[in-house]
């Protein structure tokens, strides 16, 4: 069969074997019109089909209505908390992609290292009695923990850039990607050798023990969740201000647009790239500590799945786009928290939902929600 060159969907249509010409008499009928529209807009029709299927499933599950409103509220809050953590990690992916057009697949592990640093700091502070002494000392210990996590993540990220990425900057784009995957495994198994395979428990500082109850509604918000959400929002705003308003942020945007022209302005491109890794890794470190507090455990592979999820969130929002990473992360967090119940699936399916979203976004809107059309240079 000769493939017509005018449609990108031809291959899919061929595979489904619906390329046979429609009989002349059918062409005039409405059924004929619909089928020819489907032929022309294959991807869109597939999308509509999936949406209809999902809505049908959600509605039919909702009719059985087994969950009270408090449950949904609880899940929504849970989703926002998780989304906040994803956002902190996703921003690292997006920042690095924006400048190097490379997916830093070791970013989840950078986060995990921060999580471990937070864990050991927490152990030390608990031993010193800070975490449970007074609310003030407890709050201080949280800050120290976050700073420790951020510091270790920044060190990891910067060393990674220097050793695994910088020497490959002139290489074809697949090469640093493979290097990143290698670095990811290297960091995971380094953590395995150093800290063992057993999960390490985060003992919450006393300031985080407890919940708010909202009136008589029965809705509860845990202190940890509120802390995670508010802190991540503050950090996102901080990052946005750095990128948009400061000289360093402007030089980051300049390097993202054209490294050579940026050089001609007197910008040291290497320094800007290192700074980008510092920013992204610091956020990831904070995210790692928060994830530890949220999940209450950390182990050597704790960075892997959240890293992939944050990558999904960055793609969902439009990779390379900072507000996109924030929006995509919160959306992904919510969908992951509400999805299983809304679709009447066990909660174990939340990862399936998250990664199905990745696949669907890549098929139907590769540029993401807020992304721009990628030029050849970037794509």
């Amino acid at each position: 069969m000769i493939a017509p060159a005018d449609s990108n969907n031809t291959l899919a249509i061929q595979l489904l074997g619906i390329m046979e010409p429609i009989p002349q008499n059918l062409r005039q009928s409405s059924a004929g019109k619909i089928s020819s529209w489907i032929r022309k807009n294959f991807i869109t029709s597939l999308g509509i089909f999936i949406v209809v299927l999902l809505i049908w499933r959600i509605v039919s599950v909702a009719q059985q209505d087994s969950y009270p409103i408090q449950y949904w509220a609880f899940q929504l809050i849970n989703g926002l908390t998780l989304g906040g953590v994803y956002a902190l990690i996703a921003l690292g992916y997006t920042l690095v992609y924006g400048i190097l057009f490379m997916i830093n697949f070791a970013h989840g592990e950078v986060m995990m290292m921060g999580g471990f640093a937070g864990f050991f700091t927490l152990q030390l502070l608990t031993y010193l009695g800070w975490t449970n002494d007074t609310p003030f000392s407890s709050a201080i210990s949280v800050v120290v923990m976050m700073l420790a996590g951020m510091t270790v993540s920044v060190l990891t990220g910067v060393i990674l850039e220097r050793i695994a990425y910088r020497p490959l900057r002139a290489a074809p784009r697949l090469v640093p990607l493979i290097s990143a995957i290698g670095a990811s495994f290297f960091l995971q198994y380094t953590a395995l050798l150093m800290f063992g395979a057993i999960p390490h428990n985060y003992h919450k500082p006393s300031i985080f023990v407890g919940v708010w109850r909202i009136g008589e509604t029965g809705i509860i918000i845990s202190y940890t969740g509120a802390f995670i959400f508010v802190t991540s929002i503050i950090m996102m705003i901080g990052l946005y201000i750095i990128v948009q308003r400061t000289k360093l942020g402007r030089s980051m945007r300049a390097v993202a647009e054209d490294k050579q022209i940026a050089t001609l302005m007197g910008i040291d491109v290497d320094k800007v790239i290192v700074f980008t890794f510092i920013l992204g890794s610091a956020l990831a470190g904070a995210g790692g500590v928060m994830l530890g507090l949220h999940n209450t455990v950390i182990r050597f592979n704790s960075g892997f799945i959240p890293g992939l999820k944050a990558f999904t969130a960055a793609v969902l929002g439009g990779i390379g786009n900072i507000p996109g990473a924030m929006v995509g992360s919160l959306l992904l967090g919510i969908m992951e928290a509400l999805g299983p119940s809304a679709l009447g699936l066990p909660t174990e399916y939340k990862d399936v939902i998250a990664f199905s979203i990745l696949v669907l976004v890549l098929i139907f809107r590769p540029t993401g929600l807020l992304g721009e059309v990628l030029s050849n240079k970037k794509a």
Binding site: E257, Q260, I261, T263, L264, M265
Partner: protein, 237 residues
């Protein structure tokens, strides 16, 4: 002593010997032009001076100091500023932000503000479009912006690569008028051009480049009268 002295530089792209021993000088306050056909090595010469590609041999001396050892971004601080071929503006930033980027290498806030006023005087059109995204400007406006942005760096030597490229004749004249004006106000200019007629009409001196070698150098007035130049570059039979 010349402000900028290029002494026998040899530049390679891989194994291709692109510049085969170029020597030239630029005196303070001059407009010097480098003319030649496509592929003669004009852009390579500018890229060698601005540090984007390092010559394997030879010296580049600015004010008595060999500047070959500096990286491209460091040379901006030394006063070597280039307007690249094809303009190279930051198309996602606003006009104002582009000009800010031009002043990246400077710390003197008052001087920056003064120069901003000056470039807006030179290019009133840019002032009108200060908040506009640079990618939406017309070709002529983008060339103005690229020039203005380079001036914001307060250059000692301004390197211009084909400012006339892709512009309508009337815009080319406007750009060249501005180049003359900028030069009158004290900026030294090294201009690379395919449009030899225009370039020689504003320059003090000129060099003619052929396949990586300088074949002729003289005052612009003499070059305009030179039979070989007339035939090869000015379209006069």
């Amino acid at each position: 002593m010349a402000l900028l002295e290029i002494n026998d530089i040899h530049t390679y792209y891989g194994n291709i010997h692109a510049l085969k021993g170029i020597s030239m000088t630029v005196e303070e306050g001059e407009i010097v032009t480098l003319i030649g056909a496509n592929g003669a090595g004009k852009t390579t010469t500018l890229r060698s001076i601005s540090g984007l590609i390092k010559p394997r041999r030879g010296k580049i001396v600015l004010d008595g100091e060999d500047i070959k050892k500096y990286a491209a971004q460091e040379l901006v601080y030394k006063g070597i500023v280039m307007v690249p071929e094809g303009r190279g503006i930051f198309s996602k930033m606003t006009v104002g932000e582009n000009l800010d980027m031009g002043a990246y290498s400077r710390k003197d806030k008052d001087g920056i503000l003064k120069d901003l006023g000056w470039v807006y005087e030179l290019f009133p059109r840019l002032k009108e479009r200060e908040k506009q995204i640079a990618g939406t400007l017309s070709g002529g406006e983008q060339q103005m912006l690229a020039t203005a942005r380079a001036l914001m760096a307060n250059p000692r030597v301004l390197l211009m690569d084909e400012p006339s490229m892709g512009l309508a004749p009337v815009l080319v004249e406007a750009i060249f008028d501005t180049i003359v004006q900028v030069n009158k106000e004290g900026t030294t200019i090294l201009l690379v051009e395919q449009n030899a007629t225009m370039a020689l009409s504003i320059a003090n001196r000129g060099y003619v480049l052929q396949t990586g070698e300088i074949v002729l150098s003289d005052t612009a007035v003499n070059l305009q009268k030179n039979e070989m130049v007339q035939k090869a570059y000015l379209g006069i039979e």
